[in-house]
Each structure stands twice: as structure tokens, then as C-alpha cells.
Symmetry: C2
Subunit: 340 residues, 2 copies
């Protein structure tokens, strides 16, 4: 059973793989499993993954067989385990709990080589519905306090399989980065009785220099103080704390703008590795008034990794106003011929 | 002039290179300048760096000529600029200030190919004295609130030059990661009137399972909740908030244990890329009672980078107790023949 441990100084929880920890030689041997043949996520290979927990499939096709357009399975090498009770323990100064949680893989397409930026709006919208369906299902498990949904695209961004997929981790704790956002947003709300994200949206719409794209329901911006060059946030214009509580029209509008942003990044930065992360409200805590869900998309462009990991201090070599302008000026109508 | 910008939600300051920002094509072209010939940090190439601000040299040798054993120069491509006044500005919700600061390179040895783990204790001690000398000098500049000293070793850890060097950045703000530590340590002190780091040292000495090495003055441990596999912290056993306020014997003892830890990591993980970061008290704030300086050393072993950057959520595949045991069990007496 993995273990969750809390840093006694700053309160950050980390997952420690206690059961079968990697030894020094494992790191030397570690190669990213970038499989081109016998991909375990491809149709016909369903027996290579644990049984599916969700699939969108052709009517008549059987579970765990081909015929799906999207499939969600438990991670075969989970960072957390779903079975068991949530035991907590103090050891002197330290706090630990056993690593209860869900770790799932969202197989976004049956096509091995199809990148997300090549999805149709309908295909992309299905992915958003899958995120929502899994959140709604996992919400029933009261052991969980937070659901993280994220995608690693490309080796440099941490992807270990080429086949297009995203991941979901349900946690019995709230990750530090989310706690920081909640604390900041709550403090702004207590002072001004306004959501800070709504204030940001108003200011960005009025300023304009960091807007990448917008439609009736969503705004895509490069944030004022981005950690990474070409970082883009997509926020619903209307206040809402949880991703999974939207109307159908919202998912359609989000699909359009999200795909548009991914295509712009794809053209501007020539198919860059990237991560995106859904920031949504915690499951148990009440944050409706002051938290505002959004996606953060971060291309992996710089190598100054370890230092910034260690300090939380970021040096960004591209002003977000420049990044937004580059992305705005991309002509997507000529994209399809140029980029494979 | 670079710019410092504050994230309005969580309060994180980032440096934005506004003057000559990188364009999309610069990232595609970006190659790490791993120079083997005409290294700008080698003796005889002194004109390739800005004039030195500190050097330990043979008596009689002239500034900015060969004859040095260690040399500190301003970074030729600084993230912050030292000239100017510290102007602050609010723009609606947002805060910015101009990027005043110092960014220096500590050239640790004249020998191009000599890694830090191959230094003698005396050479390593000189490096610690150089850190101290620079801190004492930069303390005089009241614009600065924090001095970060760090090393990136190896390309994967962000080093852009092969020649052994570390870096110093003096900042008009306190980085988020340090603020978090200060807040946590202060809260512990207010509750218990004890330094949390001193409490950790007592518990680790009594427990023993995470001790890598110790001597009379210092303790090297793998922390209870490490972000990274084989992360090691080196702490002075006696409470002290600032690195630069120690006695001579402390720097000797620190040199011994630091070198011992680097050699163990070097053998266990076969010359891994790594970062180390000095965590010391801010320059203006009074944190003597509750803050406790230390070094954090983080080998770069895993690739799950972007996601953890984005969430502050870490999955560590090696329990720190295992890592400490592997490192303790290294026999350093047979090291020199095996490792180039």
C-alpha cells in the first residue's frame, strides 16, 4: 500500500511508494516506455489493461472489447490504491495516512497516432463528458476530497505512452497548489465579496493584451504572472466553482475554445510537449462563492527544471503579452497542410 | 529591464524577461550550450565574463587573469539587473516591480572537467566561504530581501555549461517556497516556542532510519516527506537561522559532510544530475528564533516533471528510509577506482 506523508514544515502531502520502492539501479535502467508496437491502449489490447470503468462505445459492442471511441480504465501501476480504509497515523512530528485513492487512465481515442489537437470538436467534447462522468461517479466515495485530472503530452512532459490519454487521480487530501489557490481566493472574497477569478476575467477582457481567444462562455488568456512561457488558462466567464456542474452548452463551448488553443500552441511551437490540469473545487469543502474552476495548459519549453521545482521560483523568458499575441496571430486556416 | 510580477491568487512572484522575450522559434532552436571547447569559465577566458566581483587567487596574480582557484562574476545573461531603483506599480488587481537584483556565477574551480564530488575538503570549504563572502557583501544593499544560492549539475538538472559552477540570485522579494517555510516554522514556534527544524533533528536522531551521515555539527537526512527520490537535507545541529553567521569550524564540518553526501549520491546513482539549494533566513525579516538554515540536495531522477510543476503534487517512488539506507551502505573507500 502506498503512503501519503505530510511535510511538517509547509504542510505539503506527497505520495510515497512504500510497497515496492525503486532502488538506485532502477533509475539508471528507467526508460520511458514509448511503445509503438503492441500498445496496451490500442483496440484489441483490452486485456492488457484492468477492466474498464467507463466506455463510450458502438451499440452492441461488449465491455473490454473493441468498438469504443473512448475508454477509462484503472491505471495498471497506480500511485494510490482504491481498496482499503483510510487509516491516519501521527509519528512524533509527522503525519501519514495510507495511500487510498483512485488512479485512472482516460484513453482518449482508439487511434494510436491521433494527437488531441487533431480531434474533432465532437471527439474533444466527448473527452470532457468522460471527465465529468468519472468525477460524478467518484464523488460518491466520501473518502475522497479532491479529484485531479491532467494530461501529459510528449515524453518531455512526462508521458510514458504515446497513445493519447489523460489521467485522473482521486485523493483523500487536497494538493498544496489547490490549497494555495483556495486560501488566496477565499481571502480576496472575504475582503471584497467578489471572486478573484471573476475580477481577473473582467480586467483581462478590458485590457485585452493577454487574451488568446474567447467565445460566449469562455475566455483563454496567458496569465499575468505565468510560471511557464506560453502558459494558457481557460476560464468560464460565468462564475462556477466545479467543472462537473455545467450545462451541456458549456461543454460544447469549452470543446471549441480548448481545441482552438491546443491548435494554436501546436502551430506556434511546432507540436510541443505540454501538460494541462483541471483546477476544480474540492469535493467536500464548500467553495462555491470564491473558487472558480479553470484549465491550465503549460507547454514544456524550458529545461531549468530542478531548480524551479525546488524553490517555487520561476523565471519566464517570454512575457505573457507577447505569448498571447503570437498565439492570437496564428492563422489556423492554413494549419492542416503544414503540420503533420 | 526584467520585471517581477506577483500572481494575484497565490502571491507567487515570478521573473518575466520583458526586454527581449523569447519568441516561439527561439524555443525550437534552443540547445543547451554544453561547451567543451572555448569554455567561458576556464582560465585564460576571463575576458568572456563580466569583471569578477570576488576571486580567491595566488598572491601576485591580477584580477580577471588566470591564477585563481575560485572566481565569482556577474551572470552575462542575468535574470535580474543590478542597476536602477526599485519601482513598484499596481495595475488593477496586479502587482509588478522592476527586476532589480543580482545574478552571479560562482566558478567553483579552474579545472574544466572537475565535478564537485571530486573536490578536496579544502576546495569545497572555499566554495562555502565564497558563498558567505558574497552574502555578506550583498547584505549591504538594502534593496534585497533574499539571497538564493543554488547549483544545477548536469544538463537534465538545468546546467547550461559543463564547467563546475553554482549561481547566486539576490532578490527584492522572498520566493514563495521560502515564504511557505517561514510561515510554517513561525506557526510551530508560536504554538510550541520551539524551532520545528530543531524538533525534526531531535526526532531524526532518535529514530535513525532516515540518517544518511552525521558529524559533530551537522546532520544529513532524507526528509520524511521528500518531493524527490534520494532528496537529502543537511542541517546544522545547533540552531541558527542564517548560513553566513557561522564559526569557521562549522564551514569545515559542513564541507566534510556535504562532500560525503555528494560522493554517496555519485556512487549510488552513478553521477546523477542534481540541484542543491541553500535555504537561509531572509535578509531583512527577523526569523532568528524560528527559522533554521539548511541545504537541500535533489537528484534529477524522474521525468514526471511538468505535472508536478503545475500541481505542487509529488509522487516519490523511493521511500526515504530506503534511500537513506542505500546511501549509508555505500563504501566510499572503494569509490575512487570505480567512478571516473
Amino acid at each position: 500500500m502506498p503512503e501519503l506523508r505530510k511535510d511538517p514544515i509547509i504542510g505539503r502531502w506527497v505520495i510515497i511508494a512504500t510497497s515496492r520502492g525503486l532502488r538506485p539501479k532502477d533509475y539508471q535502467a528507467e526508460k520511458v516506455r514509448y511503445l509503438y508496437q503492441s500498445c496496451p491502449l490500442c483496440p484489441g489490447q483490452e486485456e492488457k489493461t484492468p477492466p474498464e470503468v467507463l466506455a463510450y462505445r458502438q451499440s452492441g459492442s461488449l465491455p473490454n472489447t473493441p468498438g469504443w471511441t473512448l475508454r477509462v480504465v484503472p491505471n495498471k501501476f497506480p500511485a494510490l490504491e482504491v481498496e482499503g480504509t483510510l487509516d491516519r497515523e501521527g509519528v512524533g512530528l509527522y503525519d501519514r495516512m495510507n495511500g487510498i485513492g483512485a488512479h485512472e487512465v482516460v484513453i482518449e481515442t482508439p487511434e494510436h497516432k491521433k494527437a488531441l489537437s487533431k480531434f474533432t470538436e465532437k471527439e474533444f467534447e466527448n473527452l470532457l463528458w468522460a471527465y465529468r462522468d468519472r468525477i460524478l461517479d467518484l464523488r460518491k466515495d466520501t473518502r475522497f476530497r479532491y479529484i485531479m485530472i491532467f494530461k501529459n503530452y510528449g515524453e518531455a512532459a512526462g508521458a510514458s505512452l504515446e497513445h493519447s490519454h489523460s489521467q485522473l487521480i482521486a485523493l483523500p487530501i487536497i494538493p498544496t497548489a489547490v490549497v494555495e489557490e483556495l486560501v488566496g481566493a477565499k481571502s480576496h472574497y472575504e475582503e471584497k465579496e467578489r471572486c478573484i477569478f471573476c475580477d481577473i476575467i473582467r480586467q483581462e477582457l478590458s485590457d485585452g493584451s493577454r487574451i488568446v481567444q474567447e467565445n460566449q462562455e469562455f475566455l483563454a488568456i496567458t496569465p499575468f504572472a505565468p510560471k511557464f512561457p506560453f502558459e494558457v488558462w481557460i476560464l468560464p466567464k460565468k462564475h462556477a466553482s466545479s467543472f462537473d456542474q455545467g450545462q451541456k452548452s458549456q461543454y460544447e463551448a469549452l470543446s471549441r475554445i480548448f481545441l482552438d488553443v491546443l491548435r494554436r500552441l501546436n502551430v506556434a511551437l511546432k507540436d510541443p510537449p505540454y501538460n494541462f490540469i483541471l483546477h476544480s473545487s474540492p469535493l467536500q469543502e464548500r467553495a462555491e462563492d470564491y473558487y472558480h474552476w479553470h484549465f491550465e495548459i503549460m507547454p514544456t519549453l524550458t529545461r531549468v527544471a530542478g531548480f524551479e521545482w525546488g524553490t517555487g521560483f520561476y523565471i519566464n523568458p517570454t512575457p505573457p503579452e507577447d505569448a498571447a499575441r503570437f498565439l492570437r496571430e496564428i492563422d489556423l486556416t492554413i494549419e492542416s497542410e503544414e503540420i503533420p
